[in-house]
């Protein structure tokens, strides 16, 4: 079984972001970028499937500019076997939108024949949470989103997936091939070790031009303005619970 994992290069979760002067996007010129945390969880799950001898090959796919290779290398260092870099100069945090991403992935699917796509449930830059669903729709595959546990059957014909849904967990069985999206609690990604990072340098990354895949990359959404969240006003300290209650009442909050 061959597993394809999507890895997106996004602004690092700890980075302080600023907005471009034209207010049309976040300024990413000097911001620390990293693998999207949910994608990292997806890679970890794929590598674990490989370690359990369920998957034979794990392929990490990233769409984006030259630097997208950094996150592919990271996936390779974690244990993926090879990478595919779909090149585009479109900004992946807003110009290249979920439908186009799903179309690119669908195009790769036809050519490479994976048994599953493992994706992060969303990326922390645009927070769309749409690609897995759209990809499943385009491929007419079953989807198991927000996975917190993935178990592939012995005959590798299906997977049992525990999903995190409002108010609890739902366990479903999906025939393979399928699209699975990873939620936060699926696993705790490993730290890539220094020797494995060095070895990852020698693993292969194929490059494909997004424009060559024959899919419509045009966005469906136009960004009108990007603005900072309102700054939080300073709080105040109270002595004890009684004082807190009194203050809340006084402010009409209780």
């Amino acid at each position: 079984m061959r597993v394809f994992v999507g890895v997106k290069r996004a602004v690092d979760y700890a980075a302080k972001v600023r907005i471009q002067a034209d207010k049309k996007a976040v300024d990413i010129s000097n911001v620390k970028m990293a693998i999207n945390p949910f994608c990292e969880i997806a890679v970890e799950e794929a590598v674990r499937l490989k370690e359990k001898k369920v998957a034979e090959e794990v392929v990490a796919v990233s769409i984006g500019p030259k630097q997208a290779q950094e996150v592919i290398r990271q996936a390779l260092a974690m244990g993926a076997d090879r990478g595919i870099h779909v090149t585009t100069d479109m900004r992946v945090d807003q110009e290249l939108q979920p439908l186009a991403v799903a179309k690119i992935m669908a195009a790769l699917t036809g050519e490479h024949d994976p048994s599953a796509w493992l994706l992060g449930k969303q990326a922390i830059d645009d927070d769309s949470n749409q690609v897995a669903q759209m990809l499943a729709g385009l491929l007419d595959w079953p989807q198991a989103t927000f996975a917190s546990e993935v178990e592939v059957s012995e005959d590798k014909k299906s997977a049992t997936v525990t999903r995190e849904i409002d108010g609890g967990l739902q366990t479903i069985e999906v025939p393979l091939p399928a699209v699975i999206s990873a939620d936060l609690r699926l696993n705790e990604p490993r730290y890539a070790t220094l020797p494995n990072i060095m070895k990852a340098k020698k693993k292969k990354i194929d490059t494909v031009d997004a424009a060559s895949l024959g899919v419509d990359l045009a966005g469906q959404i136009e960004v009108l303005e990007v603005s900072e969240p309102a700054t939080r006003e300073a709080g105040s300290k109270v002595e004890d619970v009684d004082a807190l209650l009194a203050k809340l009442k006084a402010d009409g909050l209780l």
């Binding site: 950094e70 990271q74 990072i197 060095m198």
Partner: protein, 591 residues
């Protein structure tokens, strides 16, 4: 990444030339840097390693428990942390010097005690096997050491022998069964990893054909027998690193475990230390950056007298002094590592400068951070008090500040005599042959007293001229003062430690300032986003250092007030103190 290009092998050191009033800018400019692809790899290494240190290692707990957490050690093994520079063919990560400096910076930012645990194994403990081991020794020992399955220790210091390493008493004599094995006896003290190591690099005297003893290095396994270690020492800092005594009682060491040549042990010891010193600059930049974070945050948040304390000039002065020293330390550390990577072999004086400079700047930075934090800095719940305790030892071990100042000054003074050939033999160990080095140098210096060319940092762009002017002026002054010193004292210069100390301090500051200028020059030429700030940091450092250096150089010369009056006074006072065995003055109240 381990590939060493020969491109830089003809580049000579920077610091020595200073004593002749010259600036060998080739060492610093263009500021050395790794190839693009090596940088990319390194970038990948730094990220998970930083996250691991940040999330998994608890420095305060390690400090409290006086041991590195076992689970952390277990995780660090597969991470490659025990064999960062060990060649890949022996299971190491195969990093170059720059890569190592960058990763130990991460360690230094989080936990210096852990840094010493890791460094005592790979940077000194088994470095000798990497540098001087034969194929069999490497194959036998390196894989398990690189993986962390075994750790190593470097065993030189004894109770009667610290800075004066050649005076060790531990002895290894050929076994009388004719096997060629050695029987090792003696005691070592303060050995890092002494209680944990499986493999020891041990230095011992061995009898020579001429009847005299000479030092030899041995690879000793704990399993050889007769080896015991004492309880972990209770220390001021780096508490999670294990420090013990070590005793060898008729330990039989096979002939195959001689490291390098019989009788070549001192060379091996100095080679290991010289080769390992560059790493300290990297680690301590990390520590300083951690301090800066706390200092900057507190300056921005703490309100007193209705203002953020960062608005007060005295606090600003401290923050600026911290940032400029950090910039200089960092520049020097990466200049040295980068030069080692490009095959430069003449880096020992710079590495000594880097060790002293980084350990003293880090101490200063941590102390000022504590001051900015006020009482909070003194509290255990903040990491600064631990950092201060951890940092103190860095000015003492792996060559104390005093010894390395002598090393730099004496090599510099010798170079000022220029013609090295007749001296070379004596120079192998300048500290043991102080007189022999300087004698001939003096006569040569006398012969060539003409003023040298004006030293120049002509690569510096206009924005950095203020810094470059200072460095050029200081280099010229140091050259002139060194000549004057040599002419006045002749051989006796070796005992004039006060001017030598000043000369070394001046040389260290100029070396660091030049590294900062070269690095800022690169930033300017590439118009990086922090170029303007880097220009300020380099100028700020050099201008301030220039004031210190000019005073030091002024006081170096025998005709100065320091030379004629203050130094003799200080010597006399010290003599009275030692003679009295305590503070010698009568109490103001008379009792």
């Amino acid at each position: 990444m381990a590939s060493t290009s020969a491109a830089g092998s003809d580049i000579t050191g920077f610091t020595r030339e200073l004593f002749m009033g010259r600036l060998n800018s080739k060492f610093m400019h263009p500021f050395p840097e790794p190839k693009e692809e090596d940088l990319e790899t390194l970038k990948m290494l730094v990220d998970p390693f930083s996250k691991f240190m940040e999330n998994e290692n608890d420095a305060a707990k390690n400090d409290r428990e006086c041991a590195v957490d076992e689970a952390v050690k277990e995780s660090l093994k597969p991470m490659g942390a025990y064999g960062m520079m060990t060649p890949e063919e022996y299971g190491g990560v195969g990093l170059d010097h720059t890569g190592y400096a960058r990763l130990v910076e991460v360690v230094g930012a989080h936990d210096l005690g852990l840094g010493i645990h890791l460094g005592a194994s790979q940077s000194i403990g088994y470095k000798g096997i990497v540098l001087y081991g034969n194929k069999e020794q490497k194959e036998k020992y390196l894989p398990k050491l690189a993986s962390g399955e075994h750790v190593a220790a470097f065993c030189l210091t004894e109770d009667g022998s610290g800075s004066d390493a050649q005076s060790i008493k531990t002895r290894a004599v050929p076994a009388d069964d004719g096997s060629g094995d050695f029987i090792l006896n003696g005691g070592k003290i303060w050995i890092s990893n002494g209680g944990l190591a499986e493999v020891f690099t041990v230095f011992a005297q061995t009898p020579q054909p001429d009847g005299k003893d000479k030092m030899t290095a041995f690879i000793v396994e704990r399993g050889f027998g007769g080896i015991t270690n004492g309880a972990p020492e209770k220390k001021m800092g780096i508490n999670c690193s294990n420090t013990t005594t070590l005793n060898f009682d008729d330990t039989r060491v096979p002939a195959a475990n001689v490291l390098g040549e019989v009788g070549g042990g001192f060379k091996v010891a100095m080679g290991i230390l010289n080769q390992g010193r560059f790493g300290m600059g990297g680690a301590l930049t990390g520590t300083m950056k951690t301090c800066m974070k706390y200092a900057a945050a507190h300056a921005a948040e703490r309100t007193q007298f209705g203002k953020k304390i960062g608005e007060f000039e005295m606090i600003q002065g401290k923050l600026a002094g911290m940032a400029t020293r950090l910039y200089a330390t960092e520049s020097l550390a990466y200049a040295i590592a980068g030069n080692m990577d490009r095959g430069v072999t003449d880096f020992q004086m710079e590495a000594a400068c880097g060790k002293v400079f980084s350990s003293e700047c880090a101490w200063w930075v941590a102390d000022e951070t504590l001051q900015i934090l006020g009482g909070l800095g003194f509290m255990r719940e903040y990491p600064i008090e631990r950092i201060v305790r951890d940092l103190r030892i860095f000015r003492i071990f792996e060559g104390s500040s005093e010894i390395l100042r002598l090393f730099v000054a004496l090599y510099g003074v010798k170079a000022a005599g220029d013609d090295l050939k007749p001296l070379q033999k004596a120079l192998k160990n300048p500290l043991a042959n102080l007189g022999a080095i300087v004698g001939p140098a003096v006569s040569i210096a006398r012969a060539r007293i003409g003023a040298p060319e004006k030293p120049s940092l002509d690569f510096a762009p206009a924005q950095l001229r203020p810094a470059a002017d200072v460095v050029e002026d200081c280099a010229a002054r140091l050259g002139a003062a060194t000549r004057e010193l040599l002419l006045k004292h002749g051989k006796g210069i070796v005992d004039r430690q006060l001017p030598l100390e000043r000369a070394a301090s001046a040389a260290m500051e100029i070396t660091a300032a030049t590294a900062a200028i070269a690095r800022a020059t690169r930033a300017v030429s590439r118009s990086t986003d922090t170029a303007a700030l880097e220009v300020s940091l380099a100028n700020g450092f050099a201008l301030e250092a220039g004031q210190r250096v000019r005073a030091l150089i002024r006081d170096m010369t025998p005709s100065s007030e320091a030379g004629t009056t203050i130094d003799p006074l200080r010597r006399d006072i010290a003599k009275s103190v030692i003679a009295a065995g305590e503070y010698p003055a009568r109490h103001p109240l008379g009792f």
